[in-house]
């Protein structure tokens, strides 16, 4: 059964609140700088310049209660419209940014803690120093209600050496594991950049062995050696790494798997498209399977609590590999 869309999924728009949030950051930003070009302020605060222009026209209407012209914040509209420069006066009481809301502090502190867990030992220190400053400023209380367990990512220990090769402009020799075939190969690549997509980190490179652009998952790189050979222009070609980067190789097959109760957790861990009750407390689930090797690994992991109902060939090939594995234990010449 597919999850029905929830009301709570709908994004809630808080246009006014967000506008005030931007203004309460803009004024202190300007305060220490005098006048700033609209585009510069927009870039620093991560706001669209046109939006910032509209925000300023609201600021212009605000000020101390009393209703005298002197009470209002002064925005130099001529400068804004002419030279696209922001000048704001009479707003000294807004000179300091508003404190972090609990959620803001918690989001940032949780991110820093996760970074401290995943960082290589050489960089962990600076993350800890940064966190200590939040702690000293009393900004970590809200984060106590959140705990994120990030196991150190396999392969993250390679980041400094890979980054170094990229910085030096040197080629790399990689021992790389191809998961779908459970095999590894040695290849020479021209590294471009490290990128994170989804929950994994990748090395983007031009691969000499494959004669084309390839991405390598860090947790599948067994060994990386920086060579003295400089990279060619292949590495300097920048690539736009969008979401279509990992177009599925080949199409997916719908596979129906029967899960006995000890394997029901699979429905929460993998995207299942359909769930139906099966015999004696089991669940029949449909999975879109792009790689049979992946399915086989899953079935083995929960063995013997999952079996393929359809298609027949998948069931047969899984049984065949199970038989092959049993033979390793029971065949002649073992141990």
């Amino acid at each position: 059964m597919n999850a029905a869309p929830h009301d709570s999924d709908r994004p809630v728009v808080h246009a006014a609140r967000e506008q005030v949030a931007r203004l309460l950051a803009l004024v202190p930003y300007l305060h220490s700088r005098g006048e700033v070009r609209l585009v510069d302020a927009a870039a620093a605060l991560g706001v669209d310049p046109e939006q910032l222009d509209r925000d300023l026209r609201v600021l212009f209407m605000c000020g101390l209660p009393g209703g005298f012209p002197d009470d209002l914040i002064n925005v130099d509209l001529d400068a804004l419209e002419g030279e696209r420069i922001i000048r704001v006066d009479n707003a000294d009481y807004l000179a300091r940014p508003v404190s972090f809301a609990p959620s803001e502090a918690a989001a940032l502190v949780v991110a820093l803690r996760a970074l401290a867990q995943s960082a290589a030992p050489e960089t962990r220190d600076v993350v800890r120093r940064t966190l200590a400053k939040f702690e000293a400023a009393g900004q970590t209380a809200a984060a106590e209600r959140v705990h994120v367990e990030t196991a150190p990512e396999p392969g993250s220990e390679l980041v400094p050496s890979l980054q170094q090769a990229i910085d030096h402009g040197h080629q790399l020799e990689l021992d790389y594991h191809v998961a779908s075939r459970d095999e590894h190969s040695t290849r020479v690549v021209e590294p471009r950049a490290l990128t994170r997509v989804g929950d994994a980190t990748y090395l983007d490179a031009w691969c000499h062995t494959a004669g084309g652009d390839r991405v390598f998952r860090l947790d599948r790189i067994l060994r990386a050696t920086e060579l003295d050979t400089p990279v060619s222009e292949q590495a300097s070609r920048t690539r736009e790494l969008g979401s279509g980067w990992f177009a599925d190789e080949g199409s997916a097959t719908t596979v129906t798997v029967r899960l006995a109760p000890p394997a029901h957790w699979v429905t929460e861990y993998y995207p299942v498209t359909e769930t139906r009750p099966g015999p004696s407390g089991s669940l029949d689930v449909d999975l879109e399977v792009a790689s049979e090797a992946w399915l086989r690994q899953l079935l083995f992991r929960v063995a013997p609590h999952a079996r393929v109902v359809a298609p027949r060939e998948f069931a047969e090939s899984f049984t065949a590999s199970a038989r092959e594995a049993v033979r390793l234990y029971t065949g002649p010449g073992v141990r």
């Binding site: 929830h6 009301d7 709570s8 808080h14 246009a15 006014a16 949030a21 309460l24 930003y29 620093a44 605060l45 991560g46 026209r57 000020g63 101390l64 009481y93 940014p97 508003v98 404190s99 972090f100 809301a101 959620s103 803001e104 918690a106 991110a111 820093l112 996760a114 970074l115 995943s118 290589a120 600076v126 120093r129 940064t130 900004q139 106590e144 209600r145 705990h147 367990e149 990030t150 980041v159 459970d182 095999e183 929950d199 067994l222 929460e268 669940l283 690994q297 083995f300 063995a303 013997p304 079996r307 069931a315 199970a322 092959e324 594995a325 049993v326 033979r327 390793l328 234990y329 010449g333």
Partner: protein, 330 residues
Amino acid sequence: MASDKAERLLNLYIMLLAQTRFVSKQDIRRAHYADYPDTERGDEAFEKAFERDKDDLRELGVVIEVGSLDAFFDDEPGYRISTDTSALPEIRFEADEAAVLGIAARAWEQATLARRTTEAMRKLTAQGVEVDSARLDLVPPSLRAEEPAFDAFWDATQKRRVVTFDYKRPGEQPRKRRLQPWGVVRSSGRWYVVGHDVDRDAERVFRLSRVQGRVSGVGKAGAYDVPPGTDVSAIAANLAPRTPDVEATVLVRQRAGVGLRRRASRVEEDVAGPDEESGWDRLVITGPGSDLAGEVLTYGASVVVEAPEELRADVLARLQAILEQEGVTR
């Protein structure tokens, strides 16, 4: 429309910030809510709008102090905002620390918290922190939350507000639960909420992926206290009780089993294996007893357990069970 409301919010903020004394609700109404008529319905509409505006300011990080205007009559509340509690404390960061902030700010992939982080970073920029995302040798961790219920539980946890929701264990009918959330926890790629189950009067942990439909807040924020000494991370640690580590010796086909090779403490290459189809290596690996069998099994016919005997027997029994349920005669 939006700009009228934005103007009112900002003016309200400035009015309360500029005062050292508490400001009465009447003065606030006269200054910023003059449109609301002096009727019963107008009063009601004003109260509602004022409550919402205060909530909006609080969401921005503003602390609104409520106090008595008159030492002798405490029935008329007054409001003020003090720089002591509402201004961002001065934090100075070194250049490398600012770079760390820039990287951490990219960690959240969950939309709401990504936005919260952006807002926090904007306040730091306003304070003069120059966030130079110049590269450090750091890749941001990825903090995700695919569970639709995440936002609601995060928010309720931060506000200490009771929530109700339908909770469905696999194979069971959904049941309505009432919870005082103490904290949210991510463990092994899933989010959980820890709290006090009001109906069962006990500490409970719920898996967010099992929450069905909408999570509704009930009553006011700050409605309960998290028991002192509650350690959300300790409760989280109990979620996945680890069995003691076991050291195992396994034979692995050459050029296979990379996950095991990566964490092997000892490797002996080119040893005698159970078949001649490939060369074999002997690996020593350590892991929690409960997980090891499942992990070894995923490699199918590429890995064989040599020792300990219980692990070997367990893996073999599970493999044979696959064949038995398929009715295959061996």
